[in-house]
Symmetry: C2
Amino acid sequence: MNGAESLVKTLLASDIEVCFANPGTSEMHFVAALDRVPGMRCVLGLFEGVVTGAADGYGRMAGKPASTLLHLGPGLANGIANLHNARKARTPVLNIVGEHASDHLRYESPLRSDVPATAALISDWYKVGSGPGIVDDAAEAVQAARSRDGQIATLILPADTAWGPGASPKAAPEPLPLARADAAGIAQAVAAIRSGKRVAILATGKALEEAGLALLGRLQRGGVRIHAQQSNRRFARGRGRLIVPRVPFSIEQGVEFLKDVEVLILVGSHPPAAFFGYPDKPRMLSQPGCVTIPLLEPGGDALHTLQWLVDELGQGGPAVAVPEVAAPAAPTSDALNADTLMQAMAALLPEHAILVDESVSSGRSLFKFTDGAAPHDYLQITGGSIGSGLPMATGASVACPDRKVVCFEGDGSGMYTLQALWTQAREQLDVVTVILANRSYRILHGELAGVGITNPGEQAHRMLDLNAPELDWVALARGQGVEARRVDTVSGFVDVFRAACAAKGPFVIEAVIP
Amino acid sequence: MNGAESLVKTLLASDIEVCFANPGTSEMHFVAALDRVPGMRCVLGLFEGVVTGAADGYGRMAGKPASTLLHLGPGLANGIANLHNARKARTPVLNIVGEHASDHLRYESPLRSDVPATAALISDWYKVGSGPGIVDDAAEAVQAARSRDGQIATLILPADTAWGPGASPKAAPEPLPLARADAAGIAQAVAAIRSGKRVAILATGKALEEAGLALLGRLQRGGVRIHAQQSNRRFARGRGRLIVPRVPFSIEQGVEFLKDVEVLILVGSHPPAAFFGYPDKPRMLSQPGCVTIPLLEPGGDALHTLQWLVDELGQGGPAVAVPEVAAPAAPTSDALNADTLMQAMAALLPEHAILVDESVSSGRSLFKFTDGAAPHDYLQITGGSIGSGLPMATGASVACPDRKVVCFEGDGSGMYTLQALWTQAREQLDVVTVILANRSYRILHGELAGVGITNPGEQAHRMLDLNAPELDWVALARGQGVEARRVDTVSGFVDVFRAACAAKGPFVIEAVIP
């Protein structure tokens, strides 16, 4: 048994079942081991941004890491952007990155680069594996990926470790214990809540999945406002779930949203900073006088913290009934725009769908339409690094083959990683992608106005507009083996979306909107 | 005048004429400045790998840097792979990377990452610009990009430096003086050449452009074997140019190629190491007993070194007439495969075309067909990081709008950065792309066999084959506004390629080969 085989067996023994891969020469021993050792589902991505973004989507829905398989420094570098999103989300991901044979690194060769430094950029844990100890390294890597509520662990696999002698595989140890709130913090939070001041909890992570929402509902009943970060890993949404408003993206709206909050309790979340800094706007969305209580650090045990608060506040009685919200109605107008599109989608969303959202500027009002939609999980871009949606939908579908995945994707961001559609075709994943084709980086028009340019010139238009030529997403999808249709009316969208949801397999809808 | 405007003016004063861009919010002041300050050609890429690969192609053909414009850490990260190729080629590139406002970095925000560490990974020079000193920083950055025969220089532009007060623009100082060979090295090389031993020069960089080839021809007349590195920035090739064989890619062929060489003189090149290390193969392609003379370091003044050698060897007389090579003939068979395709292309290659080659496994025999083709410049992938071809062709065409660009691209590598086709359509670039559609990562089948797997199993096939579904490159091109045709015979290719070369503007030929 060589090192690659003992590595694959260690991954399998550690409950790693899926490998999103784009291998190269240095990974051939690993690929050969995948052939010899049954049990790993291998999913090929035609670009590494697809591979890492799919691992993000998988980890969010499976609640455990997938492995990636990446080729040397440039392969890892191509995956950085979506690892950045995964890291901000605290998604567990285990990267296996091939490296030159150890005794080849002394020579200058085309693919030589600093793989450890590349891994350091984007990993919470990384190590260069070595010899038969690769099984210990891999077990430690899996443990790291699963610790602190999800981390990026990167194991670098030199070719000579892969082809050299292996060792008996082992299972990864349990994740390290999660950080917890302490009694002083709980006392401070409880005192604030009982003080009569306007107190809000800012939550993220597991607090926004079903068990967390049930606890948050009890705290809301106890008089606390409940908010979510702007960006979150996974959010249980729709009929029957507590409605938790997110801090808005725009600084003006964010400041307005938080202006009454006198005490802000952070449960695994970061202080609500602006997405970007601007010349004459605040950097922090909460008021300067707002008292912030960092009750639980990011990556800590949110459910434990919330339960403790519930107990201290005496809210442990009967479960909270979530007020009914009207099911979304179909739009009355046939004019397709971002709002009517989302409204129509919300009315038709299948039960227990996974809704992946990288609609960027178009999607900011999505929640108002989906509060009363069928129960679903909502996954969004978390690190602002565009190109996350199509791969995330791909990985989410691999994790949950029995659930419909609906992906709302901007045309500009979709172009970053459009190769994900091929993987959806190859794996026959049940994903309906809606491309919001507004033919521009629309968000940047707003940002340009934000820096005082309300009448952009020729150069700015050429940098922000995606017309001339227009992208044909039907062709781009079909060229990768995915069936597709273009729509430009609400009724057209409704017909195509309903049919796509009723069928199985990947489908792309290019929705032309202003 | 704000910082962004004084930066743009400094770039223009420093002969930076083209900016390949994918901007985001933090770069809006720079975009606004491009509107206000005329003179910069801005070229949008829909993914940063397109942006940096185009800057590589531009720099190779223009002999001076273009600027890129990239958005924060993830935008730069997306560009790393093609910057890796550019760096290995010693292409001059100037990256402008937007960064959060300085006083916003203290907060955790979705797009916060370590931009300087990302820049350090891939840059020969980098700096965080600051305040009105941005003009000095920019001038220094341009100088750095132009020094040492081409470097990657990365200037990080915090948003508050862009929107803050600027300063009078300045022109970049001259590049730093190039390193030169020393007299002892020249004496050693000349002694070796006169010793009667079998001596070879291994050249790269400017030695392979026209002036360098003329000098190499004189040295060949003086009894020296002349070879090129496997990967080179730019190579003057075809009728009337000295034929300089490259060290082969495969270890067996490389060792055979160099086995008689007793003394190897490195002129700006690296020792001929293998591309990868394998269990039972040598790491170095030259013989263990071969004496290596590192006459000129990489990035040094190759023309000066070669001229000095010519003078010392008394080869300064009349220019060397290059032996005539038969013009390539059209293939006699109509069966399309990698060889007949290249042969047919070589016979039809327009005069002074730029031939961009990322055909990977299919292209290894290209030179034998193009030795006698019309004079052309040959650009190849230099860092082994696939996805370089389509962007490189894009940038080369921006640099040389009056020359036809022909790009030979593998289907697997082409998918990495297919978004370059949209830029070709937007800019109406005169590029004919030939996709070698063998429906696989063919090179990896060979590598898998190289590690002893001659009968790959299901998993390996799924990782290495691009069928199921097949990519439709005609649709992928048309979806981005580029006209395209599929061919599967030599005669079909000849007809379409001839017509595409006769017309102006972008065109894609999907050549289906076994």
